[in-house]
């Protein structure tokens, strides 16, 4: 066991090739947040026109501060996303504040999902999600280019089949 200080997001340096998710994911996140902020500000504005109470202004201010902070953290979180295909398992890491790293052996996969929400589709992105028999398994990779998503899905499906049933 090495006692040197380990980088929490990069264990096993040199042996693992981490792939980042598409930077377009940040744009998707910004657009989504912008839409929500506009809707919530519109509601606050309407309330202010009806009640003209100072509390509504406070709520509006809190909303803007929350949005700025939330946006900063979610951009950090997207940048921290990474995945790596090893010989027998898939690694997925994400999170800046709370860091998470999952390892799912290919043999344990039950099925693979590829989904794309309306915004993701508009920017040509997709999310790949691995399911195992355990509900707690957490292996979701958002922000993949369609080609990469299809390649990953097919590869995972093929590897899972090779290795038989999961349970």
């Amino acid at each position: 066991m090495e006692s040197q200080s380990l980088n929490a997001l990069d264990p096993w340096p040199q042996t693992v090739q981490w792939r980042p998710v598409s930077p377009k994911m940040i744009t998707v996140e910004l657009v989504e947040r912008a839409i929500w902020t506009v809707i919530l500000l519109a509601i606050t504005g309407t309330l202010w026109l009806i009640f003209s109470s100072a509390w509504v202004l406070v709520a509006g201010g809190a909303l803007i501060v929350g949005t700025v902070g939330g946006t900063y953290f979610s951009i950090q979180a997207i940048r921290s996303y990474g995945y790596a295909e090893r010989e027998r398992d898939l690694l997925v890491r994400h999170g800046r504040l709370i860091r998470r790293l999952s390892i799912v052996p290919y043999g344990r996969m039950q099925f693979v999902d590829v989904t794309a929400g309306p915004l993701e589709r508009a920017f040509g992105l997709a999310t790949v999600r691995l399911h195992t028999a355990a509900a707690a398994s957490d292996a979701t990779i958002p922000g993949l280019e369609p080609d990469e998503a299809t390649r990953l899905r097919d590869r995972l499906a093929a590897l899972g089949e090779d290795r038989g049933e999961g349970l």
Partner: protein
């Protein structure tokens, strides 16, 4: 298609009626007067019986190849198909009202299902046993006739069950509640009959849980069938007989409740995939059916556990404690927290008052994870989680970061190898 027993609708109706009466409760009695209340109950009874009779006409079951098909429904008829290769465990249950007529129901635990399937109810007890043997044979893919011979492993003393249930917080605090009710009756003149009745009901409700548990764990017997399956039998009013193939056990939890420590007692529960938390009919007290041992000493547990997890000795697990820096995050638990990778299982201890030891065999680990919160990062700590089907993940909290990374890599490798070598 095989029909259920003709008494099934009556017995099922009885169960629903009890729930309905509980739902109406004291307040209802107060508002409706006795005649109105009786009329309501009788009306409900007629409606329920009529409904369950129609349901019975169209329901039944059949075995086709390696599938069990269950026909049900009144307005929209359904055929549920249970793939038998995914069958995890079968339980033969005799609820009190069915026991009177010598009937039983079969509860099936299926992997991947959110909760237990609705039971097959009711069939004669003999038929239930045959059906269980037949379904288990088909699920294992075996062709040979199952040997029903079994060897008894352990019998829990009813006395211990009673004492262990008295040593629980609800029972220990009951005397205080009784004093409160007496005090109200003596000093509070406005206290009406219905208020007292409601309080007595509440008091009764707190005592119901331990009493139901006592009845549920009454005559607890553990046996091993000739082909290596566990057979767990228990229950006074409702007699249960559960057959669990050992290789379907996903994880095992040993719990030492605070009040049991003076007796040196523990309990062990099993996580079996598909044995969900939900009750099929909704409402009512759920009986705990996941116990391997409801109350036992460490010596007994050491003798029994190897039948489920071969060559695991509870008293000699190579566990390592957490670094001292974990005291900032878990001041009380820092001396308790420990975990280790043993030859066959991943084990973790946690809990200050109620101590738990969770064991998961490597071939049952579905995925492994590390999480590291902001405080853990400052202290160079991280938590290791091993996910299992049909149970909560096994968590080793606050390990040192290099160790945590070494462990998840090792756990993923062992999980994969154990699964591959099993074929």
């Amino acid at each position: 298609m095989n029909k259920f027993h003709p008494l099934s609708p009556v017995l099922k109706g009885f169960r629903l009626l009890v729930l309905a009466v509980i739902a109406i409760s004291w307040r209802g009695l107060e508002q409706l007067q006795l005649e109105g209340w009786l009329a309501t109950v009788a009306g409900l009874l007629v409606v329920l019986l009529a409904y369950s009779f129609i349901a019975w006409r169209f329901s039944g079951y059949e075995i086709v190849g390696r599938e069990l098909r269950i026909h049900e429904g009144v307005l929209s008829r359904r055929v549920r198909t249970v793939p038998l290769e995914r069958l995890q465990a079968i339980e033969v249950i005799q609820p009190f009202q069915a026991r009177v007529f010598g009937l039983a129901e079969l509860k099936l635990d299926v992997a991947g299902a959110e909760k237990s399937e609705a039971p097959l109810s009711f069939v004669p007890l003999e038929r239930a046993r045959e059906l269980r043997a037949q379904l288990l044979m088909l699920s294992g893919g075996a062709q040979e006739v199952l040997d029903e011979h079994e060897e008894e492993l352990f019998r829990v003393k009813n006395n211990d069950v009673v004492v262990s249930q008295f040593l629980t917080p609800p029972v220990m605090f009951t005397p205080l509640a009784v004093l409160y009710v007496i005090g109200q009756v003596v000093f509070n003149q406005d206290f009406g009959f219905f208020a007292i009745a409601s309080m007595l009901s509440a008091l009764f409700a707190t005592l119901v849980a331990p009493v139901l548990r006592m009845l549920n764990f009454w005559h607890f017997r553990l046996a091993r069938t000739a082909d290596g399956k566990l057979r767990i039998r228990h229950g006074q009013l409702t007699a249960r007989s559960q057959t669990v193939p050992v290789h379907r056990v996903q994880a095992l939890t040993v719990t030492w409740p605070l009040l049991w420590r003076m007796k040196g007692w523990l309990r062990i529960s099993l996580a079996v995939a598909g044995q969900g938390a939900g009750t099929p009919e909704g409402g009512g007290q759920k009986a705990e059916t996941d116990r391997l041992l409801p109350v036992a000493t460490l010596d007994t547990a050491r003798a029994i556990v190897p039948h489920v997890l071969p060559s695991v000795d509870l008293a000699a697990l190579p566990m390592t404690p957490v670094p001292r820096s974990a005291r900032w995050l878990a001041p009380l638990r820092v001396r308790v927290l420990a975990a280790g990778l043993t030859e066959r299982v991943f084990a973790a201890v946690d809990g200050f008052a109620t101590r738990t030891l969770t064991l998961v065999p490597y071939e049952r680990i579905q995925s492994v994870r590390i999480t590291q919160g902001p405080w853990q990062r400052r202290l160079g700590l991280a938590s290791v989680h091993a996910d299992v089907a049909g149970g909560t993940p096994v968590t080793a909290s606050h390990r040192s970061l290099p160790e945590a990374y070494q462990w998840i890599d090792e756990l993923a490798r062992r999980s994969d190898e154990a699964r591959a070598s099993r074929g």
